[in-house]
């Protein structure tokens, strides 16, 4: 008689469970290098092909790619659900704008401030993880983003509906970011650094601890992993990178407004992750690009982002919960398998 282990619930949707084996340092380094090369290579292609308006759109794509990658880390690797990640995007954006306007801090340093502010916010909101988890925590994060949106109207320094304008990207490492192409390269570098950091964390010991908490919290606890602190760490890391993305948003738009805290922003980032495929590292990147592209296509039709975001999410959930990356993967496997089968039968 064989006893089969109970399979984790989230097996097919989320990145594979920790199998107790870390990738070797060299394998991870190679993959990190591949991420950098792919990001910068892609950036070069786009810089060559795109005009200055579409370069601005691409900068937004990069912002949402980083944002979605941070959320994918939170959902996929840590299994912590937040429906209020707009809170960290907005906090990062406002913090970057404030240090830029009032203290003249610009470039990557301003992004760091944005990231740290968002991480600090995540520590505060994340304390709720002591009491709630799962969907209940998702609602707590939703409440947090609503509070912040209201604060932008109540705190005079945040200028209410007008938001903060006059943000300057400034200069990075002595290079003035004053034309669209330089700003584009700057954004691409930020994305590359962010992706490298997220991938490194995800393949590290911490990343594997998070996966085991995600798959079986009781089992993870029994191996000495603190469940609450693991989730909190993941939430803060995701918050930091979400904040950096928000800072970058402020820098490429040169302004930041309360809409960044809107509930629909939290929703659209979830859609990006799902459309791309939660299970894959490239999923949110594909999803972000696909979403912004689709939004540009229907921009003339309607400004009803809620409806389209909701429908997109509903369709993905009901039809292809593993997203574009998952569908591609399945098609690819079917093709490869078919060819192998053919090869085998030809050989006979």
């Amino acid at each position: 008689m064989t006893i089969t282990a109970r399979r984790p619930r989230t097996r097919s949707l989320l990145p594979p469970p920790s199998v107790g084996r870390l990738r070797s340092g060299r394998s991870v380094s190679l993959r990190l290098l591949a991420i950098v090369v792919a990001t910068l290579g892609g950036a070069a292609l786009i810089a060559g092909a795109a005009g200055s308006y579409s370069l601005f759109i691409w900068q937004l794509v990069v912002v949402y790619m980083l944002f979605a990658a941070s959320v994918n880390f939170l959902f996929g690797i840590a299994g912590v659900f937040s429906f209020g990640q707009a809170a960290v995007l907005g906090t990062g954006g406002y913090a970057t704008a404030l240090v830029s306007i009032h203290a003249g801090i610009e470039g990557p340093l301003a992004l760091l401030f944005g990231g740290l502010a968002a991480a600090a916010l995540s520590v505060v909101v994340g304390t709720a993880l002591n009491r709630v988890s799962g969907v209940a925590f998702a609602i707590v994060t939703l409440a947090a983003s609503e509070i912040l949106q209201q604060l932008t109207f109540r705190v005079p320094a945040l200028r209410g509906e007008d938001g903060l304008s006059g943000v300057a990207a400034g200069s990075a490492f002595g290079i003035a970011l004053d034309d669209p192409e330089r700003l584009w390269w700057y954004a691409a570098f930020v994305l590359a650094v962010g992706l490298v950091a997220l991938y490194w964390v995800q393949e590290s010991r911490l990343g594997h601890a998070l996966r085991s908490v995600r798959d079986d919290a009781e089992l993870a606890r029994s191996t000495g992993i603190g469940i609450v602190s693991a989730r909190l760490v993941a939430f803060v890391i995701a918050g930091f990178f979400g904040g950096v993305a928000g800072g970058l948003l402020a820098q490429v738009q040169l302004t930041i407004t309360p809409e960044v805290f809107h509930f629909s922003v939290s929703g659209l980032v979830v859609v990006m992750c799902l459309v791309g495929g939660l299970r894959w590292f490239v999923g949110p990147l594909i999803g972000a690009a696909a979403y912004i592209w689709a939004e540009q296509q229907i921009a003339g039709e309607s400004d009803n982002r809620l409806l389209y975001t909701g429908l997109a999410l509903l369709i993905v959930v009901l039809v292809a919960p593993d997203g574009l990356a998952g569908v591609t993967h399945r098609l690819f496997r079917r093709v490869v398998r078919g060819r192998e089968r053919k090869a085998v039968s030809d050989g006979d």
Partner: protein
């Protein structure tokens, strides 16, 4: 002192209708283990439908009562559709999908409302006869608040009887306890689930219709009342009607006290309540619930 009692009374009166919102969440959560994000949107649809039916005119209270019932039934149907479209297919799949589907439906319903009714907030006056206020032992209370509290209390009592005394209520409890076992003894869990959604939609719709005159009606109602319902559940304890009642009373009084004594915090009452609920509870409240 009179101000204190006034705040207490008006808080308790507002608590009764919002109890309906929270108990709708509780019924579905208790029976199916789903915290339905779309619940807040159903409430919002209820408020909009009321304006739609009445055209924003002040009407007689009997007409208003009929509209409340019609809205509640319409919202019950909407909730059943929500269940059929999204949840029915997902019970046996990964829990994450149900969660995401209800989140998606919140957006879809909000977006649809935005398309149908636009972004400009609507208003709905209270019924003609109930627009004044009465003086009860020195405390001034709005007649309409008194009427909605009474009406909601009746609905709440019927709900309690339905869940405790009726056959279908018993079946609901059985499914909540152990879905597989309930199915094994012949309870059709799918139908019971649909019933739970219908009840929750009815409650949200009735509350939305009754609370329509309380303020501006816009798309944002859905997430505000979702968070409100959730804060009540956290304050009062998950999964029981009694918890929802005490949570609603606590939150209603808290909000009303804040508006009397800490006007700068008006608009943050729900969040204060949520934070208080999280701090007061000793243990994890909702375990791994999706």
């Amino acid at each position: 002192m009179i101000e204190f009692i006034g705040a207490l009374v008006s808080g308790a009166l507002t608590a009764v209708p919002i109890f309906l919102v929270a108990s709708g969440l509780t019924v579905v959560y208790g029976a199916l283990g789903v915290l339905n994000f779309a619940h807040g949107a159903v409430f919002m649809v209820g408020a909009f439908l009321t304006v739609q039916f009445l055209g924003g005119a002040a009407v007689a209270w009997t007409t208003y009562l009929v509209v409340v019932l019609a809205t509640a039934v319409a919202c019950a149907l909407l909730a059943v559709v929500v269940e059929l479209v999204a949840f029915r297919r997902l019970y046996r799949k990964e829990h994450l999908l149900g969660l995401l589907a209800s989140f998606a439906l919140l957006f879809v319903l909000q977006g649809a409302a935005q398309r149908i009714w636009g972004l400009a907030p609507r208003t709905q006056p209270a019924p003609r006869e109930l627009s004044g206020s009465v003086d009860v032992a020195g405390v001034v209370v709005s007649e309409y608040a008194l009427a909605t509290a009474t009406m909601s209390a009746v609905v709440g009592a019927v709900l309690w009887l339905l869940l405790r005394r009726s056959a279908v209520g018993k079946q609901l409890q059985a499914v909540a306890d152990d879905r597989e076992m309930a199915e094994a003894v012949g309870i059709r869990a799918d139908r019971v689930g649909m019933f739970a959604f219908a009840v929750s939609g009815f409650l949200a719709g009735a509350a939305g219709a009754m609370l329509a005159p309380q303020g501006a009606i816009d798309v944002g109602l859905s997430e505000r009342y979702l968070i409100l319902g959730f804060a009540i559940i956290i304050l009062g304890g998950v999964g029981s009607l009694r918890g929802a009642l005490f949570g609603a009373l606590g939150l209603g009084v808290l909000v009303s006290m804040l508006s009397s004594y800490a006007p700068t915090l008006v608009g943050f009452g729900t969040f204060v309540g949520l934070a208080a609920g999280l701090l007061l509870r000793r243990r994890a409240i909702v375990q791994e619930a999706t």
